[in-house]
Symmetry: C2
Subunit: 239 residues, 2 copies
Amino acid sequence: MSKKLKVDGEDAHAEIQAQCEEMQRVQSKLEDVEAEFDKKVLELQSEFNVKKTPLYIERNAIISKIPNFWYIAFTHSDIMRMLLHRDDEHIFKHITSLVVEEKEDIKSGFKITVTFSENSFFTNRELWKELTFTDTAETKIDQSGVDWKPNQGPNKASNAAVGEKRDRDEESFFNAFFNNADKDHVDMANIIKDDLWPNPLRYYTGEVEDDFDEEEEDFDDDFDEEEEVEEAEEDEAAE
Amino acid sequence: MSKKLKVDGEDAHAEIQAQCEEMQRVQSKLEDVEAEFDKKVLELQSEFNVKKTPLYIERNAIISKIPNFWYIAFTHSDIMRMLLHRDDEHIFKHITSLVVEEKEDIKSGFKITVTFSENSFFTNRELWKELTFTDTAETKIDQSGVDWKPNQGPNKASNAAVGEKRDRDEESFFNAFFNNADKDHVDMANIIKDDLWPNPLRYYTGEVEDDFDEEEEDFDDDFDEEEEVEEAEEDEAAE
C-alpha cells in the first residue's frame, strides 16, 4: 500500500518497529492508569463496606425478631425453594443470623455464614461456605461441613421411610450446601450474595417471587411453582 | 412455628409488620450508601478518563505514522475481518484516526468516531456510531450515515460485476456499520470498544488473533480463518 514500504522496505520496517515500541510505551502508561483506577475502586469498596457493616448488623437484629424470616425468604425464591427438603423447615427455625461477607478485595471472593441456636440436628453453631476466585479464573470452594447428630441428616431414618410422599429434594439443603464442594452450589451461593442478601425483605414479603424466571434462564424448568408457594404459605400459617 | 403467632395472631402480625417497616428503613439507608458509592465510582471514572485522554491522543499520533494500522488491526481479528469487503482496504488507507469516547457517565453509552483524509469514496470526513443505553435497558443506536460519492458504496458498478470471485461480504463494512441502526452492529461496536480500543497494538501485531473463538461463541462459525489471515497478509506484503 504505502510507497515507502515498496521503495525502501528495510528502513520502513525498522521505522514501523520503532513506532510499535513507542506505542507499547504508551500502552504501558494506559495500563498503569487502569491499575491505579482499579486500586482506587477497591479502596472505595472497602470504605463503603465499612459504612454498610453497622446497617447489616442493625438489619440482622431486626430479622432475629421475625419468626422464620430466612425460611420464608428462601421459600419465596423459586430457585432456592427447589433446593429445600421438607425437613429443612425445622432447621431454619434455629437460624440466629445469616451473613454474607465480601473479602476485603471483593474481587477475590465472599463467605456466607449461617449461625444457629442449639438444636437437635447438628452440633455446629455455625455453617459457612466460602468462594475464593483465584488468579487463574478458577473458583475455590470451601465449607464448614455439617456435623449431624446421630440419626439426623443423610442418615436420618425417615429418609428411608416407605410410603411417605416426598415432593422436594431428598437431600437437606444444609447438607447439600455446607457439606460438599459441588460446583452446582456456586450458582446458589451467588444468588444468595447478589439477590437475597442485598434486600432479603423483598424475598420475605414475596415481592421478588418470580424474578429468577426472567433473570436466570439456566434455572428455568417446569417445576410447579405456584403450588409450592401456596404449600409453603399454608405450612407457615398452620404453625 | 412460633407460639406467639398461634396464641396472639393479630398482635404478632402487627409486630411483624412493624419490624418489616423498621427493616425497610435500614434497607433505604443501605440503598443510599450504594447510591453514594456508585456516584463516587463515576467521579473516579471521569477523573481517570481525563488522565487517559492525553495518552490516547499520543497513541493516535503514533498510529497515524504506521501505514494501514487500522486495516491490519481489523484483519487480525477473526470477527472483524468477516465484516470486511475486499474494497474496504482502500478506504482504510484514508483513516486518519479512530477514537472511542465513553460518555461522561460511562454507564450511558459511547461513541466511535473514525476520521478520514479526502478520498474518492465518500464526502464525509468523519463517520461515527453512537450507542446510548437508556433507563429502560434499551440501546439507542445513532450513526453518521455514509455519503457515498457517485458510483461508490452500495451503488458501485463492480458490485454487480460478473465473473469476479468475491470471498468477503458483498457490503462495505463502512456502509454496514455507519449507515444503519441494525442491532447486529451493537456487538461489533462493543468489540471495538472493549477489545480493539484498549490495546490496538495487540491486534496490529496479531497477538490476539484467536481471542474471539474463545470469548465470543456467538460469532463462532466455520469460516475459514487461517486462509483469510494469510490472504490479508499476502495482500499487505504485496503492496
